[in-house]
């Protein structure tokens, strides 16, 4: 369902440590080049929940963005087979001046629905978000938790086969986290794939039976969640000592 072969993502830096595009790097002074991900090889099969473990800056978010199609590989290749829904930040692409309804319509089209399909699903998104009348208000008046709820409901409306979560689920209240967990488990049971990064390991363990451990952009370990988590903690303690 997801296959990475020698995949890498490169960042080019100009003056003041500002990221440049390849085109800009040809006409501006290039100060540094860093590989955010390097030589990644893995396959995620249908029906897997996969946790991404690793310290901050290890490449978890970069990998999720690569899987979401937000980044394209600068080396190797990545093949994602199936509709993807992602929740990679709390704002989830929401525009603050638009109402919940307008955002849902807009983001539905960006996620690949036609305008009529997106419009037809608005009431369903409203229901799933649990926002009630707030759905008709500008998102600027929402709390972070409410934004995350709307973001997830909007992302989920495309009936994804692959769900990508990046820490933001940790911003949900307990009730909605339970809903999210149920949804993710149902997706895995139905043959989909869930890839989740975060620091809430108990929740990740409930969702994922497999883990990838990233360190400095490289894959350090890949296996059963408990084994990979143990290795991650051992490395952390070794580092602390």
């Amino acid at each position: 369902m997801i296959e990475a072969r020698d995949a890498g993502v490169r960042f080019l830096f100009g003056r003041h440590h500002r990221v440049l595009t390849s085109g800009a790097a040809r006409i501006r002074r290039l100060d540094a080049e860093t590989w955010g991900l390097r030589s990644l090889d893995f396959t995620l099969s249908p029906g897997q929940g996969v946790a991404l473990l690793g310290p901050s800056g290890s490449g978890k978010t970069t990998l999720l963005r690569l899987l979401a199609g937000i980044y394209e590989p600068d080396a190797g290749r990545i093949h994602v087979n199936g509709k993807v829904a992602s929740l990679l930040s709390i704002d989830a692409g929401l525009l603050p001046v638009l109402t919940g309804r307008q955002n849902a319509l807009y983001l539905g089209v960006l996620a690949g629905l036609s305008r009529s399909e997106s419009r037809a699903r608005l009431d369903d998104v409203k229901e799933r978000s649990g926002l009630g009348e707030y759905f008709e208000r500008p998102v600027s008046s929402f709390s972070q938790g409410m934004r995350a709820r709307l973001g997830f409901a909007v992302a989920d409306q495309v009936n994804p086969r692959i769900l990508l979560l990046d820490e933001v689920h940790e911003a949900f209240d307990h009730e909605f986290r339970a809903i999210l967990e149920r949804r993710a488990r149902r997706l895995v049971e139905a043959g989909g794939v869930v890839v989740a990064a975060g620091h809430d390991h108990p929740m990740l363990e409930r969702l994922c039976d497999r883990a990838l451990y990233l360190s400095h952009g490289s894959l350090r370990a890949d296996g059963a969640f408990a084994d990979v988590q143990r290795q991650y903690f051992e490395d952390l303690h070794a580092h602390a000592d």
Binding site: F11, V19, L20, T21, S22, G23, A24, I27, R28, R65, A68, G69, I70, Y71, E72, V84, S86, L88, S89, D91, A92, G93, L94, L95, V97, L98, T99, Q102, L105, Y106, L107, V109, L110, A111, G112, S114, R115, P138
Partner: protein, 268 residues
Amino acid sequence: MSPARTRGTVTRALASLRGTFDLLISLTASDFRTRYGHGPFLLVRWLLEPFALVGVYLVLMVVVLDRPGNAPGLSIACAIVPFQLVMNAVTNGMGSVAVRRPIIANMAFRRSLIPLSSVLTESASFVASFAIIATMMILYGVSPTPALLWLPVVVGVTLTVAAGLAYPASLFGVWFRELRPFGTSVVRILFFIGPGLVPLAEASEDARDWLRLNPLTGLFESFRDVFLYGQSPAAWQLLSPLVFAALLLVVAVPLYRREQREFAKVIT
């Protein structure tokens, strides 16, 4: 190719076209809401904004400087209205990627449509700005003529120029964030080294050939032909900006498509 395969190809092409259209409309609608807000004042803002933007030029030239000539206010409005679209296409084009940071950082979609949606958003205020021309025609007692039939063509060329400039402007805004004000100034200069304030017919013989090199000259003069002189625009007036826009699009669009792959890295 078998009929079934041809049908499949056509169906896929139509679906892709419809998806592009839907995406463009959604991006533009969200821009429009962001810019004009909600509620009953949306229409008022939409109608008044062009007056607020270009009114100052008109007051300066017509009232303060008291320029002589054939309906000077209308003549200037005929230059300012297309110029404002071009100017806004460049200004907003330069910020178009930064403005869409939330969606670029979170979703995969056809980012190559971003400059085009900026131009479509600006075309909404472009349409409203025709009220200025209508007002000037009434003030100077200039009646509409059959030359108005050329308006769709002239508007089409103006929009093409705006789109042609929006792509390089968007790239410029990503590559040289700190130089955006300079980009705005360059476009503003095109107005002043063109027949914006003084029509081409009133410029000196020597200057005319030079002024014709400015791609905006054809636009300004075409608007004057349609609204003020009541005649068909000359071929060069439409072809010169069109060729300019086509060259920009041919060079900038492939470059933009290549560069947009990395926009998410730059803005996050």
